[in-house]
């Protein structure tokens, strides 16, 4: 136990030291139920101050360590702090802070455990506690899994409150007034006579005060920002072209680079001829890097042109290279040897299926690319003493560790500056692009280098959402869903991506069955089995991870079972659902969509429900089968997050999730030939465009006992709700994504 504390203390010191030169406030309190002895022990001596609020003569800087990849994380983190600190968020500067273990994510690890979000058993609580401890010990400074709000809701408000209270203490020292005569107002301590002392003027005094830990958080009824429509802190910059993304960093003496690595993934570079490229205007160097070449030039476009002019001798991909073979490998992994998990096994599925009239179906989902609109890009500068990295990343501390390994430098000398990301959807949980730029920098020290990928490079070097196959068997009894047996086979995201982060992947991969095994239904005989397909092309997390595809499989089959039983899909789910907040979500979407009302000819309505990341989400989609194809008319969404902290961004995230889910379900797939991704730009990977976008009505429910994030949970039910709606409108059951293989869309 002592060691746990030492490690925690040491991480704290590293974290604080990194923010010298200002007064640094913050606190961290464990507020979780203490069944885990580790937690209890930590709490006893743990008063580590963590850096979230910095005040100096220049102003107030709020540290928002979770990356903003479009989900509004910076703005939400800032609002959590200022709600207690009592300043106008528009007056503060936001900073991502340094890569530091102190900014660990204590929630993200839960997703890797077979703990249903709806479970409140001792084991579940212990597991969640362990995730927190693991997160802290491993220093998981990471953004993902829709965890920013659940993880930081208390931590950041506490940091704001401690800072405010400490500033008040400074004002007490300066004025000699007692605590109860002082209050704060928008960045000032207010004295009884109405005089105001600006926070900034108290910074020097406050620096010598041990931060006041004994604070009480405001009651929600006193909130000025939270639960009210917030103005995103980045909205003006993003509407005026003044937001600096990773791709926009400019430095004196900076050169522009791009890379080309073997499009046949993992095939390596046997040799290259850069004679023509080196002669091209502006080209300063053509360098070899791992698996390919880099061109350094005085302009990105010149680097692009020259990179195309290099003749490369690529080796063959070591992976199963063709998508038909990849699917065959997935199909072959439904075997005892490859069984990975069976977290759900209620009743006696085998006995129930014996002799029953079977409903059987097989579903397929493809590889998918992340393709954030900002292509992978990074600015690096390496000197003898230090390496600086400016980019949009969700994993600054892993970047630090991996680049330390790559360069042989001490991690302390590697500084990761996290900039705004032009989208991610999980892509920035990888650091391959950063490593490439660092490889260039190692060959060109002392020069700031901006590396930008061509879009084609981005598509062909993604770590896609894995493909998967589900085999489902079911039986009905007395007009009800009685037996539901779902087997899902897919390559493991955990195995693939954790290896790249230098972390072990222990035990079964929950992602293979996430969004399927953990659904809150009491089906008498209910089993979900995961099979792990041996690794093929490297894969990674994609917005909503395992649930992104498993929602389609589980909810398509649920729809099929309801039809087989001759029961209404909403009524049957309600009958089977034991989880009250989930029931409320289903009821809400039924009411919103006027479920059961007549829609008219050629129209159909589909329902799907997925509980992912602890958020139950139900979606109803209305479609019309027109002469030009399927038109998506309306989408109704009800989602349960415990408390909606910003109704504006909540709606935007849900709508965005629905559009992301629908767009990919409609027309996106990544297929491979000889290990080369065949979709290399948006003309063959379009997703949804504005004209296809339906009216999306969103309702946030607040019946749950925990706060949840909403960046991802809107995605999983979108595809099955659409497929089920198409079935309702046309009688055509589509079991393979993308749907455009089977139907046209308007």
């Amino acid at each position: 136990m002592g060691r746990v504390k030492t490690i925690a203390r040491r991480s704290f010191l590293i974290g604080s030291a990194a923010i010298a030169g200002g007064v640094v406030f913050g606190t961290y309190l464990y507020k979780r139920e203490g069944t885990n002895p580790l937690l209890a022990d930590l709490r006893a001596g743990e008063t580590a101050i963590t850096p979230y609020v910095k005040i100096d003569a220049q102003g107030i800087t709020l540290i928002t360590p979770r990356a903003d990849v479009g989900q509004g994380a910076w703005s939400m983190q800032a609002h959590l702090i200022v709600e207690e600190l009592d300043i106008d968020p528009a007056t503060a500067t936001l900073s991502s802070g340094p890569a530091s273990a102190i900014y660990y994510n204590g929630v993200v690890g839960v997703e890797a455990m077979p703990i249903a979000a709806t479970s409140d058993t001792l084991l579940a609580r212990t597991g969640r506690g362990a995730a927190d401890v693991m997160g802290k010990l491993m220093g998981l400074h990471i953004t993902g899994g829709s965890t920013t709000v659940p993880d930081l809701y208390d931590r950041l408000r506490m940091a704001g409150a401690v800072a405010r209270e400490t500033l008040i203490r400074a004002a007490m020292q300066q004025t000699g007034l007692p605590r109860d005569q002082l209050k704060t107002e928008n960045g000032f301590v207010v004295l009884p006579d109405g005089l105001k002392i600006e926070y900034l003027d108290l910074a020097v005094l406050a620096a010598d005060i041990e931060p006041i830990q004994d604070v009480t958080l405001r009651e929600p009824s006193q909130w000025r920002y939270l639960t009210k429509p917030q103005k995103r802190t980045d909205v003006i910059a993003k509407s005026t072209g003044t937001q600096t993304y990773g791709i926009d960093m400019v430095m004196d003496g900076m050169v522009h680079a791009t890379t080309r690595t073997n499009p046949a993934l993992g095939g390596g570079l046997a040799g290259f001829d850069a004679e023509d490229a080196r002669k091209m205007r502006g080209v300063q160097a053509v360098l070899q890097i791992t698996g390919g070449i880099a061109v350094v030039a005085d302009n990105t476009w010149r680097a692009f042109q020259a990179a195309q002019a290099v003749t490369c001798d690529w080796g063959p991909s070591p992976y199963i290279g063709n998508t038909s073979d990849q699917f065959a490998a997935v199909a072959a992994s439904f075997s005892e040897d490859d069984q990975d998990s069976q977290f759900k096994d209620d009743g006696d599925v085998l006995a129930a299926l014996e002799g029953a009239e079977l409903v059987e179906a097989e579903y397929r989902i493809p590889y998918l690319a992340h393709a954030p609109l900002e292509p992978m890009s990074v600015v690096v500068k390496m000197t003898n003493a230090r390496l600086d990295i400016w980019t949009g990343t969700q994993i600054p501390r892993f970047v630090q560790a991996n680049m330390a390994k790559l360069t042989g430098m001490d991690a302390d000398n590697i500084h990761v500056h996290v900039l705004m990301s032009g989208g991610s959807f999980g892509r920035r949980l990888e650091d391959d692009y950063i490593a490439q730029a660092v490889e260039i920098a190692m060959q060109l020290p002392d020069t700031p280098i901006k590396m930008v990928w061509q879009r084609e490079e981005d598509f062909t070097h993604d770590f896609p959402r894995p493909l998967a196959i589900a085999r489902a068997k079911g039986a009905v009894r007395d007009g009800a869903v009685d037996t539901f047996d779902l087997a899902i086979a897919a390559p493991s995201v955990a195995e693939s991506s954790l290896a790249r982060l230098g972390q072990p992947a222990i035990g079964p991969d929950v992602a293979i069955v996430a969004g399927a095994w953990d659904q809150p239904f009491d089906i008498p005989n209910y089993r979900v089995t995961g099979y792990r397909t041996p690794a093929m092309v490297p894969v990674s997390s994609w917005r909503s991870v395992g649930a992104s595809g498993n929602g389609f499989m589980h909810e398509s089959f649920m729809d099929e079972m309801c039809h087989a039983a001759g029961v209404d899909p909403l009524a049957e789910r309600l009958r089977l659902c034991w989880h009250e907040p989930s029931r409320k979500v289903l009821e809400a979407v039924g009411e919103m969509s006027d479920w059961g009302s007549e829609l008219g000819a050629n129209r159909g309505r589909g329902l799907a429900f997925t509980l992912a990341f602890g958020v139950p989400v139900a979606e109803v989609i209305e479609v019309t089968n027109t002469e030009d194809g399927i038109r998506i008319d309306k989408v109704f969404v009800a989602a349960e997050v415990g408390r909606v902290l910003d109704p504006v961004n909540f709606e935007a995230q849900v709508q965005g999730g629905v559009i992301f889910g629908l767009g990919h379900a409609m027309n996106c797939e990544l297929t491979y030939e000889d290990g080369v991704a065949q979709q290399d730009n948006f003309h063959v990977y379009e997703g949804m465009r504005l004209y296809q976008t339906p009216e999306i009505t969103v309702r946030g429910l607040e019946n749950g006992d925990k706060l949840r994030g909403i960046g991802e949970p809107g995605v999983p039910p979108a595809a099955p709700a659409l497929a089920n709606a198409i079935f309702a409108a046309t009688g055509k059951r589509i079991r393979e994504l993308p749907l455009s293989k089977s139907v046209d869309f308007v």
């Binding site: 103005k231 509407s239 791709i247 609109l373 948006f682 465009r689 504005l690 004209y691």
Partner: protein
């Protein structure tokens, strides 16, 4: 060659076939205009040439025949264009990377067609991709900007 960008004339020494996008970003340091696809599939690089929306990844420097306006020239944080105002009021941006292009497309569209139908808004804005899914708000913001401009 000479290029007029946001009212300022620049002398640039670039190949005729260098896309305007890269002249703006890497030669002139005007980075509000974004690179997304390079083949006019995404619209992130949209600027105006004499007020008409053009994809700057497709417009070679040597083919620039008019004055260029980028998002920075349309309006600034302290002097917003009506379209930018609408974008801010409705909080359209998520990651925001596509939004400079969306706004430039919308501004040019509303300039030519100040009182568009819903169908026309859909057609005008469907060349611009948004991976985050901000489309419902883009639609609303174009409608709102249209009313603003009519009142103005």
């Amino acid at each position: 060659m000479k290029l007029t960008v946001n009212g300022e004339t620049h002398e640039v020494d670039v190949e005729d076939d260098m896309p305007l996008l890269w002249v703006l970003r890497d030669e002139l340091g005007i980075t509000g205009t974004k690179y997304g696809c390079g083949i006019a599939q995404c619209g992130a690089c949209t600027v105006h040439m004499d007020g008409i929306a053009v994809r700057s990844c497709q417009l070679a420097a040597g083919d620039v025949t008019g004055e260029i306006t980028t998002i920075e020239g349309l309006g600034t944080p302290t002097a917003l264009h009506a379209v930018q105002e609408a974008w801010i009021d409705l909080q359209v941006a998520q990651c925001g990377y596509c939004q400079a292009g969306q706004i430039m497309q919308a501004a040019s569209f509303l300039d030519l067609n100040p009182d568009p139908t819903h169908a026309q808004i859909d057609a005008a804005m469907s060349g611009n991709l948004c991976r985050c899914g901000s489309y419902p708000r883009i639609r609303d913001a174009v409608k709102s900007a249209s009313s603003k401009l009519k009142r103005a």
